[in-house]
């Protein structure tokens, strides 16, 4: 069993607390109309952070769905800038600068899973010693893309880790309406590689499972499917009203297994954390977020930025459309 060191566990709690605090802050900014719809991270922190800490950020790729980017601090401070640009709806929000091995938010559910397999395959073709970890939800596992990708990965023996974050809900759809399988981990039997179910609120278990899968993958032994069982502690997104469908007592029970509470208690007992540290981390998180928001808001936006990066060179028609748009914007640049 791969156990994180005390130092690593401390760093993981920093990342978890940071993610929670920042996510809640973004949630509030949405309520004030300052950012767009967002999906809170609450309840997912141990899974995302534990996984990220088990990876080698220089070599291993992470392909998130939409709930993870805020908790990928381990991949560098640029991640938060990415998150804020994305959340304010800036075109640059799609851009994570090289060499960070993370792809941007994916909204079209499960489509990133075949990307992960292709990327993992590509790494082996280039003798690049990395693995690919792809996040997806319990709901997303019902899409054909998940199965097609899992099956392909099995055939190729590609170095990919499928991390299914089972937070019990896909918007309002509970797991028992999502599948009759014994577990999401059990689905790996369809692909011919191991599937394991772990407690996604236990950061050590996540770290261990991802480490083990990574070692396996790097040894050429192929993919692993990990189902991390957590509970979505917040609404699906800022546009959702979970009181319509989440039983209050379930949520109550889930709150008792809050991954942050759990790790914090453990670290406090071990003398590795206290209220002061907590306050410091929270403060730093908010300061970083404010700075990132400020930076995002002051990121230039050319009036025709939305036409960039579609084709390497504008088609003739697009070039004319660009000219028309610029003419509308006028010399000042932002008429609209």
């Amino acid at each position: 069993m791969a156990r994180p060191t005390d130092e690593q566990r401390r760093e993981m709690l920093v990342d978890m607390v940071t993610a929670r605090v920042q996510s809640q802050r973004i949630f509030n900014l949405q309520r004030q109309g300052r950012v767009g719809t967002m999906a809170p991270v609450d309840g997912h922190e141990a899974t995302i952070v534990g996984a990220a800490h088990a990876l080698d950020t220089d070599h291993d790729w992470v392909l998130p769905q939409y709930r993870e980017p805020i908790a990928l601090r381990r991949y560098g401070p640029e991640m938060l800038e990415h998150v804020m640009l994305y959340n304010i709806g800036h075109p640059a929000g799609g851009h994570i600068p090289a060499p960070i091995r993370v792809l941007p938010y994916q909204i079209s559910l499960a489509t990133q899973i075949p990307h992960a397999v292709g990327l993992a395959w590509g790494l082996t073709l280039q003798d690049d010693p990395g693995v690919v970890l792809v996040f997806f939800g319990d709901g997303s596992s019902s899409e054909g893309d998940f199965y097609e990708a899992g099956n392909l990965a099995g055939v190729l023996g590609a170095p990919v880790i499928f991390l299914c974050v089972n937070n019990q809900w896909a918007i309002s759809t509970p797991v028992h309406l999502q599948t009759a399988a014994e577990s999401f981990a059990a689905k790996a039997a369809a692909f011919g590689f191991p599937g394991i179910q772990i407690d996604g609120n236990d950061v050590d278990a996540v770290y261990d499972a991802v480490q083990t899968a990574r070692t396996r993958a790097l040894a050429g032994k192929g993919p692993t499917l990990i189902e991390a069982v957590v509970y979505r502690l917040g609404p699906h997104t800022t546009a959702d009203d979970p009181t319509r469908y989440v039983p209050a007592e379930d949520l109550e029970a889930a709150r008792r297994s809050d991954p942050i509470k759990r790790l914090r208690t453990e670290l406090e007992t071990a003398g590795l954390w206290d209220d002061d540290v907590q306050a410091e981390v929270e403060e730093a998180a908010l300061a970083a977020l404010d700075a990132a928001l400020e930076k995002a808001r002051s990121t230039p936006l050319a009036p025709d930025a939305m036409l960039d990066h579609c084709y390497t060179t504008d088609t003739q028609r697009l070039a004319r459309q660009r000219a028309g748009l610029l003419a509308e914007a006028g010399p000042g640049g932002s008429a609209r």
Partner: protein
């Protein structure tokens, strides 16, 4: 008559059609216990029960594909795709199977399937939520493409769509759900599929539009009226079948035409409208038809979508342009 927004009109119609015909089954993601992410299916579960109002696993292909089987069983599926952009996940079933169920079986089975999906921009949704795919769907023979612009039409066209033995893509403007409000006839109200509607009378030029663009075209017309111009607005209401006579009538009367749509220009349904005009009314044209549309890039992110979307300014400018030409 009762004033309703489009969402209310749709919800009311779903209730009425489920009550009228017990073969109607409603299926989709989050449509039962949650009443739909926009509340379009609110109350159906409570009224009609779990057998007829079904929350589906998260797989658009399965929603569309199972609808084929339900239709073969003689039922009348009304499926929801949560956002039209995710119809891509089901295109092999929608275009490859639903559209041609009757054709493949040479008349044995009716694909009496309605697929409802919101589309179009303006509400800061993430990628693919706002995409306008109607031009692509219109190239799929067998499908009917219905694109209401008012609450009253949403009711009348949805009822007709559900009752139609042909498969219908019923595309609802996201911006119109709460943004469009008008008088809706009480009780039974059917609008036949394939009949356009004059949304504004006028004779100097005509703007041809559908879905939320109709509202913007009307605003442009109102504004141009202040400049003394009489600009007709033709609301197509259905892209397939297309009301050729209404288009010809409007073009013949006005001679100058603007076609507006949200989709990217290239390959959008606007091109089909222009080609149709050329076929039906070439000699009436006093100037080239001008297209207003989205740009030839993917639907963009929130901060810039207002720049992306054709609005009343662009429509009005296009009208002035066709009026200025030779």
């Amino acid at each position: 008559m009762t004033e309703l927004n489009m969402l209310e009109a749709i919800n009311e119609t779903l209730h009425a059609e489920m009550a009228r015909d017990d073969r109607v089954v409603v299926l989709g993601q989050d449509i039962a216990h949650n009443g739909g992410v926009f509340r379009a299916t609110e109350g159906l579960l409570e009224k009609f029960g779990e057998r007829r109002v079904v929350d589906m696993p998260l797989a658009e292909g399965a929603i569309a594909g199972a609808s084929v089987g339900l239709a073969v069983a003689g039922l009348v599926p009304v499926a929801e795709i949560q956002f039209l952009g995710f119809a891509y996940q089901a295109m092999h079933q929608i275009a490859g199977q639903i559209a041609r169920l009757r054709y493949r079986t040479q008349g044995r089975f009716d694909p009496a399937i309605t697929i409802r999906a919101p589309f179009g921009g303006g509400v800061r949704t993430p990628e693919l939520h706002s995409d306008s795919l109607e031009g692509q769907l219109a190239n799929v023979p067998g499908l009917k493409i219905v694109v209401p612009a008012t609450a009253a039409d949403a009711k009348g066209l949805l009822a007709s769509s559900i009752r139609d033995p042909d498969p219908v893509m019923f595309l609802e403007p996201l911006r119109g759900y709460r943004g469009i409000r008008d008088d809706v006839p009480d009780g039974e109200h059917l609008v036949p599929l394939g009949s356009a509607r004059t949304a504004r009378p006028g004779g100097d030029a005509v703007v041809i539009a559908w879905s939320h663009q109709v509202e913007l075209a009307c605003r442009a017309s109102d504004r141009l009226a202040e400049e003394g111009l009489s600009v007709r607005v033709l609301d197509l209401r259905c892209l397939v079948p297309l009301d050729l006579a209404a288009i010809a009538e409007a073009v013949d009367a006005c001679g100058r035409v603007v076609v507006t749509e949200e989709s990217p220009r290239t390959g959008g349904f606007g091109g089909e409208v222009v080609a149709t005009i050329v076929e039906e009314s070439f000699w009436s044209l006093e100037a080239p038809v001008v297209r207003v549309s989205g740009f030839d890039v993917p639907y963009p992110v929130g901060m810039v979508e207002d720049r992306y979307l054709p609005d009343e300014d662009r429509i009005a400018a296009a009208v002035r342009h066709v009026l200025d030409m030779a």
